[in-house]
Symmetry: C2
Subunit: 269 residues, 2 copies
């Protein structure tokens, strides 16, 4: 357990047959833990991987020490023979690692530049929403640029709907309400997104890039980094498609809620 | 190397960031080896994984012993930090294992029963054709049945086109010609399929399930098992949709070619 590797015949390696979570840990305490556990279980259930109640609490990073860290937890279906058919009684394999972490505080305040990716996400409802180990689309999309000044890449699906960014969910304020893309055909339902939806009215919408252009403010975030305002949206060739000012205090309501969930500072103080 | 496992931070485990091959080995000699190496390289190139010329010949199973075996070879992008962005200079990791193998000889002669899967393959041209490690769709499809009398499951894509079966390619004879599905939106381009296309005229078609119903004979095959005639096609609820007799000698021309490529017996003798 913990940060051992996996053997050759592990199905997580062979087929990406498993799920993972990336969890912010503060002074040994995992943030949004219930939401992470719930998504992990939902993923295991979808894939038919047994996920015994008693296994997960044991994975808590009790000795992560003080300060901020990130827990990465991987659950695979365990070892298997050749072929896609899972073993009748799979023995899931749990692996995790805790590494120190420092958030990008400047990005909270000043915002980031993001770009549109060329790669389109395939629509696969059977795997949508869960955080499974088949992440080549994200890898391929992230390989499209190497300019460190560009923080994230926006992913559309093959029908042109905005879905997420390479490693974050999208949120925007438009026509007086908060919106976030539907994730029923592809994308990962972030735990921060879940937490925010429980606290604020956020409409789940099916929308194209136009929605981003029309937004008063655009945000990207996840449960590790918190919420970043987007200042510039570039296309895949680097041409600016839209720009936004530093958000006003009143526009930071969603960020305040996100940072409360993660123990990060309110930027409106 | 060889059949060691991989460490926690291997990107093959983390994201399915790699490719694999499954190769029939006879008396220590890999069959269709050039085609396997070509596909592996094509996959690495697509994913941007360096695949040095000198690494692969070293992976040959020189001491596999006599008789039949299967070589499974995995190439991952190697270790990486947290996040989808690949390392600037990835150090790919090669792993392989050789296991004894016995083909299903009865299936060559008498044929098999297959079924239509409920799961539809997502259309992702960026990953189509190559044998990457993101195989959850195959796993999910293969989990749909556990009746050992059903050999394979037919996979359609989300637009209703026939693509492949859970672990084989499809071939059929219809209106006087051989056909196999196009694999430009999803599916794996099998090395046996490549080998057969070099030897016989096989039309690459975009077709629905109707094409299977209209076939004089339907076949499934890969570079490990050879080519099996399909005798019964069931729907996902187990109801027979079509049945075919044992193929006549003249209908076995494709199987003869496949078995010559793999050193398996001609069934027409």
């Amino acid at each position: 357990m913990q940060d051992d590797g996996v053997p050759f015949d592990d199905r997580g390696l062979a087929y990406g047959d498993g799920v993972f979570e990336t969890v912010l840990v503060r002074d040994g305490r995992p943030l949004l833990w219930d939401a992470h556990v719930a998504r992990l279980r939902r993923g295991c259930e979808r894939l038919g991987i047994p996920c015994p109640e008693h296994d997960l609490p044991a994975a808590l990073p009790g000795r992560a020490g003080s300060g901020l860290a990130v827990l990465k937890l991987i659950v695979t279906r365990g070892s298997g023979g050749r072929g896609y058919l899972p073993p009748v009684e799979p023995q899931p394999r749990y692996r995790w690692r805790v590494t120190p972490f420092a958030p990008r505080e400047t990005a909270w305040r000043e915002g980031v530049t993001i770009r549109l990716c060329d790669l389109r996400l395939a629509r696969q409802p059977a795997l949508a929403g869960i955080k499974h180990l088949n992440r080549l689309e994200n890898v391929m999309a992230r390989r499209e640029w190497d300019d460190p000044a560009i923080a994230e890449g926006v992913l559309l699906d093959t029908e042109g709907h905005v879905v997420e960014t390479t490693s974050m969910n999208l949120f925007w304020h438009r026509a007086g309400r908060w919106e976030t893309p539907a994730l029923d055909a592809c994308g990962v339902a972030g735990t921060l997104r879940e937490g925010l939806r429980e606290r604020l009215p956020i409409a789940v919408v099916t929308a194209g890039v136009d929605a981003l252009m029309q937004a008063d403010s655009l945000w990207v975030g996840n449960s590790v980094q918190g919420l970043w305002p987007v200042r510039r949206l570039l296309d895949a060739r680097g041409v600016e498609r839209q720009a936004w000012p530093v958000p006003s205090t009143s526009a930071r309501i969603l960020q305040d809620a996100a940072h409360e969930l993660l123990g990060y500072p309110r930027l409106t103080d």
